[in-house]
Every structure is written in structure tokens, then in C-alpha cells.
Amino acid sequence: MSLALVLEQLLNGVQFGLMLFLMSAGLTLVFGVMGLINLAHGSLYMIGAFLCAALAAATGNFWLGLMAGIAGAAAAGALIEILVIRRLYARDHLDQVLATFALILILSEGVRMIFGPFPLYLNVPDMLRGSVDLGITRYSLYRLALIGFGVAVALGLWLLIAKTRLGIQIRAGESDREMIAALGVNIRWLYTVVFALGAALAGMAGALVGAIQSVQVGMGEPVLILAFVVIVIGGIGSIKGAMVGALLVGVIDTMGRFLLPRIAGLFLDTSQAMGVGAALASMLIYLLMALVLIFRPQGLFPAHG
């Protein structure tokens, strides 16, 4: 096991974590500000990827596609908030889960009706194709760009929340919803904006990841599950928690898939070790979540202190 391999796996873990962060940031914001469990967040990820793939295919330009993916997901998010979600704030979490689960089915079927059941083609932009030499190993240029992109978006999000008027309202909304409404902030508008912001982040993640994965109906649900794990670990409602949780999940999952089969290989023959190792690796992040729930039920960085 060489240093080059470990470094490459670390980069893989960080890149995976940052994309998870884009997904979980929106999920945790929506829960923190509105107290809403949004299962349809994965569908917004899918919408971003499909719009990006469709526009990139039509124009030949990935960046136009990315813009369309972000804008389209934001618009879909705003529309969903106004038409459906708005009616759910006062309701029980179970009602919210039921309604947003219905949205998953409707959106998946809608996308299938428009784009068909077969995966779409979306390739990485020409300027980010191929791999670069990092000295001790080669690495995919596009994955490096994803890391840069993820860091930039995280910084932007931090600035937005820490330094702007909208950010103050979001933080106030997380602390006390009734009070900021009483202070004259248009809470309905704020909710729509926060939901659209979360949707835009999910759409961005879908479009970016879609270029190296398969753009297909249902692509959002596996990521949604991981995003829930991330926000449970990080602390529901906390952006900082989402960041730390996402990086933890990304690195632990990647390293587990890489190291556990090798560790099992010390005790078992190769085929068995691969099976046992792979099975254990797929459980690892859920074990982490269980540990966090036992020792810090509020998550690592609880939003409300």
C-alpha cells in the first residue's frame, strides 16, 4: 500500500464529501429554518442533472447546462414550496414525509415521461477532461475541479449566512420562527427563498456529479439517504455540522471500502475477504451514525446549542 494510493483515496473521500455537502446543506437549512423533512430533495438533484444533460446535449456547452440545472432546480424548488410545502409547515412530520414522498413518485414519473427510462448522456466539459500529474500520482482533473467548486460554494454559503441580511434572517428563523415573523420579516417569502436555495444547491450537485455518473431516474434517492446520515451526524439545522458530517462520511466511506477488504484479507482468503470487507464497508457510515446517536444524540454541532 503506497503513499500515492492513500493520497488518492483521501482526495476521493474529500471530493465525495464535498458533493454530499452540497446535498445536505439544503436539506439541513430547510429543516433548520422551517422544521420540514423534505424527502423530495433527491428529486431536485435529479432535476438538476437532467436539465444539465438536456441543455448540454442541445447546445454542446456543459456550463450552459450547469446554469440551467441550477436555475431549473431552484425554480422547481420555489414552485414546490408555493404549491405543496407551504401547506405542511403546521402539520406533523409524518404528514410532511407522506407528502414529500408522494412528490418523489410524481417527479420521478414526470421525468420518466419527458426523458424516457434510459439514462442520458452527459460528459465532462472539454477543459476539465483527462487527468493531471500531482507528483506522486495522477488524478482526474474533473474531480479536482469538483473539490475546488465544493470549497468555493461552501465559502460562498458561509458568507451568505454570516454576512448578509438574508443570512441574518435565516439564522433568526432557525432560532425562533414566531419571533422573526412578529418583527415584520416576510416569513412566507423567506421560506420560499430558503427552499429555492436548498433546491439550487441540490440541482448543482446533481449536474456536477451527473457528468461522471449516470443521469437516470431515481439517481437522487441513494444520495438522499447519505445526506440524511450526514445531517444526523452533523446536527440537524447546522451548516457547519453538514460540512463536518459530509467530509466525515465521504472520507470514512471511501477509506472503509479501500481498507476493510485488505484488513479482512489478513484473516481470510481473497474471495471471502472481498465479500466480508465490502459488506462491512457498506455498513461503516451507519455504524458511525449509530455511535453519534448514542453519545451525542443532538449531532456533533447542534444548531440550537
Binding site: F118, G130, S140, G275, A278
Partner: protein, 378 residues
């Protein structure tokens, strides 16, 4: 809605033609949503095309989506047997779902005709007179890939498949014929979308080639990421990872890959030419091997219904065993365990008139049969 209409049409048909042999109800449980949807859609469309081309027949087809979930597939199977009174079940794509559904189905004196999954556990000691596999036993095509890896002179291959019955069968099949060293062996998760951790290990392994079995969306994700990784080792595979359902989405990254298959769109026989043309006419796309398997399964059922009444299970089973239909893959015969004996071709991914597809470049085995059949008491 569609189901209701079929039911009404079937009801009308049955009241008119009551004097004919009893109607055959075929329940199709297949994957129509999620990352494996392309495979199920092709099996369904191929099956439907064969019924449409046959014109008048008394087969009632009921289709349901299993969403690639074993527990759902079991529920659907129970419902189809109990409520729909299905005589034949078919359609399952994934081996773990087949393992959950097939044994209890055939035990209830219902036929199961597999258009895709062929787990080794059902081909050997657990074979059953009511279970027919029209496609292949899982190991078969991977054995072809292993044999061809020798021919290509590969000596240090890295092998990888998802961790489920068809994945273990795939690696076992490849290793049965491959004579070189293994640079590494990996199981991934079913439905995995990110292969960065695996590609890093391939890079570090010092392999001279890789063998992968990653059907559906898994194959698209892997190939896209592999292309960008800077690892440039040749790939040898079975048809599943380089099939027509995913080639348009994989794009040029797949060009030049050799893969083993019992069928190919350019296979030169009359039945296949007619099938490919009719499929393109009906659905506006090239068929995949899954579509060819659905098409063959329907034609096998049609051949048996022409000879026997499905209510007479023994007579119908004999009719199925005769396999009196023209397979689009060419010659078709049953081994004693009711899995096919067939030729395994080597195909290469090529671009023809702007369409990425497969062309036959060689033959891996003639009259190939699976090894598990030896343990089958039939």
C-alpha cells in the same frame, strides 16, 4: 390504467373464444424504475414485440415493476399467482430477486421462464422441472470473457463485480477460464455510483488489464469515471456492461472494448434481422441483449401454447422442453438442467454511422453449457 384495459380486453376475448384452449396468463415481474430500469424495459418491450408479431394468440400479459427490490418482487409474485391466476411468471432481471421468487413459484406448480437472471444456485442441485432459463446461466458469458483474456495475452488482470449472486457468479466464471494472475479482486455495492476508490486501487495494482461486470447505471458511472482517471488499461467484459441500453450514455469511452455475448444486433440470421428491424420500427432504438432475451422467452411460450394446454402442466412442460421456436441467437438447445447450450461470441464496441453499438469479432465457445448442470438431478 393500462393493466385495466388489458384485463377488459382479455375478458372480452375470453367470452368470445371460450371454445379455444384455455388462456395463458403470463405475469412479468421486472425492473422498470431506478438504475436498472433500462434492462427491464428492454425485456418487456422485446417480449411484447414477439406477442405483437405473432398476431392472434391467447396470452394475457400482466406487467409489474419490482423496483429492483426482492421483498417487493416476492409480494408481486404472490399476488400474480393468487389473484391473477398466473400460469407462468417471467421477467426478473436481478439474481438476488430471482433467488427470492423462483423457488417458491416453481414449488406451487407455476412455470418460471427466466429472460435474464441465471444464478448458479438454481442451475445445479436446486434445478427444478418448472424452471427454464432462456438466457444463460450467469457464469457463461464471463467464462467467455476469461477465455478471451487469455487469447488477448492478458497476464495480470484486475477483476471487479457487485456483491450479489450474479457478481460472485461473474468472478467465478471469469476465473474458471482465465489462466493469468489476478492483480486484484474487488466486490462493489449493488447500485454503487462512485468508483473513485476502486479506480485508485486499479491504478496502484500494476494490472495489465481489467475485467468488470457492472450492468445498467453502474457501468455508465464506472466507464465515465474510468475515462477521466488517467488509468488506461484495456477492458475485457461480458455483454451486460457494454449493452445497447447503456452504450449511448457511456459514449466513446466504450469504443474498442471486447465483450462476450450469446447475441449481438449484427448476428447474421433471418430471425435476428427481422427482430432488429421490427424492434427499431416499433420503439425507435436498437435492441439490447435483454430485448433479445425477452423476445426469445415470448416465442418459447408461444411455441408451447401451440402444442399444449397450459392447464395440463406435464404436457406444457414437454412442449417447453421441445424448444420448437427460432431463437434470434441462432441454434438453441436445452441442457438437462433446462439452461441453454449455446455459442458464446466475442463482440467489440464500435461506432457505425454515428451510433455506438457492438459487432461480432469472434467466437469464444461453441455449444457451451454451464458447469453447475452436473449437480442437477434431472
Amino acid at each position: 390504467m393500462k393493466l385495466k384495459m388489458t384485463a377488459i380486453a382479455a375478458l372480452a376475448a375470453s367470452s368470445i373464444g371460450a371454445a379455444q384452449a384455455s388462456e395463458v396468463t403470463v405475469g412479468m415481474i421486472t425492473t422498470l424504475s431506478g438504475g436498472g430500469a433500462g434492462l427491464g424495459v428492454d425485456v418487456r418491450d422485446g417480449f411484447q414485440l414477439a406477442l405483437d408479431m405473432a398476431g392472434e394468440h391467447n396470452i394475457k400479459l400482466v406487467v409489474e415493476d419490482d423496483a429492483q427490490r426482492p421483498e417487493l418482487a416476492v409480494q408481486i409474485a404472490e399476488r400474480m399467482i393468487q389473484s391473477e391466476r398466473a400460469d407462468i411468471l417471467t421477467g426478473i432481471i436481478w439474481s438476488n430477486l430471482a433467488m427470492a421468487v423462483v423457488p417458491s413459484t416453481v414449488a406451487q406448480d407455476i412455470f418460471y421462464l427466466s429472460p435474464n437472471a441465471g444464478p448458479s444456485a438454481l442451475a445445479g442441485a436446486n434445478c427444478h422441472p418448472n424452471y427454464f432459463n432462456v438466457a444463460w446461466q450467469n457464469d457463461m458469458l464471463h467464462e467467455g470473457a476469461g477465455a478471451y483474456a487469455n487469447e488477448l495475452g492478458y497476464e495480470n488482470t484486475f477483476i471487479m463485480a457487485p456483491n450479489y449472486p450474479a457478481g460472485t457468479d461473474a468472478l467465478a466464471g471469469f476465473k474458471r477460464y482465465y489462466e493469468g494472475n489476478l492483480a486484484g479482486e474487488l466486490f462493489t455495492q449493488v447500485g454503487q455510483t462512485d468508483y473513485a476508490a476502486e479506480i485508485a486501487q486499479i491504478r496502484a495494482s500494476g494490472a495489465d488489464s481489467i475485467f468488470i461486470f457492472l450492468p445498467g447505471g453502474m457501468g455508465i458511472s464506472f466507464m465515465r469515471q474510468y475515462e477521466q482517471s488517467g488509468v488506461d488499461l484495456p477492458i475485457v467484459s461480458a455483454a451486460f456492461t457494454f449493452s445497447q441500453d447503456i452504450l449511448p450514455a457511456v459514449g466513446e469511452a466504450a469504443l474498442g472494448v471486447f465483450n462476450a455475448s450469446q447475441w449481438s444486433p449484427d448476428l447474421d440470421n433471418d430471425a435476428n434481422a427481422a427482430f432488429v428491424a421490427a424492434f427499431q420500427g416499433a420503439y425507435g432504438r436498437l435492441p439490447s441483449l435483454y430485448a433479445s432475451q425477452g423476445f426469445d422467452t415470448a416465442n418459447l411460450i408461444l411455441s408451447a401454447t401451440a402444442k399444449a394446454d397450459v392447464q395440463d402442466r406435464d404436457a406444457f412442460r414437454e412442449a417447453l422442453r421441445e424448444a420448437d421456436f427460432t431463437s434470434v441467437r441462432g441454434d438453441f438447445a436445452w441442457a438437462p438442467n433446462q439452461h441453454p447450450i449455446q455459442r458464446v461470441y466475442i463482440r467489440e464496441v464500435v461506432e457505425v454511422d454515428g451510433v455506438i453499438t457492438n459487432r461480432i469479432v469472434g467466437v469464444a465457445f461453441d455449444e457451451h453449457r454451464d458447469v453447475h448442470g452436473e449437480n442437477c438431478p434431472m
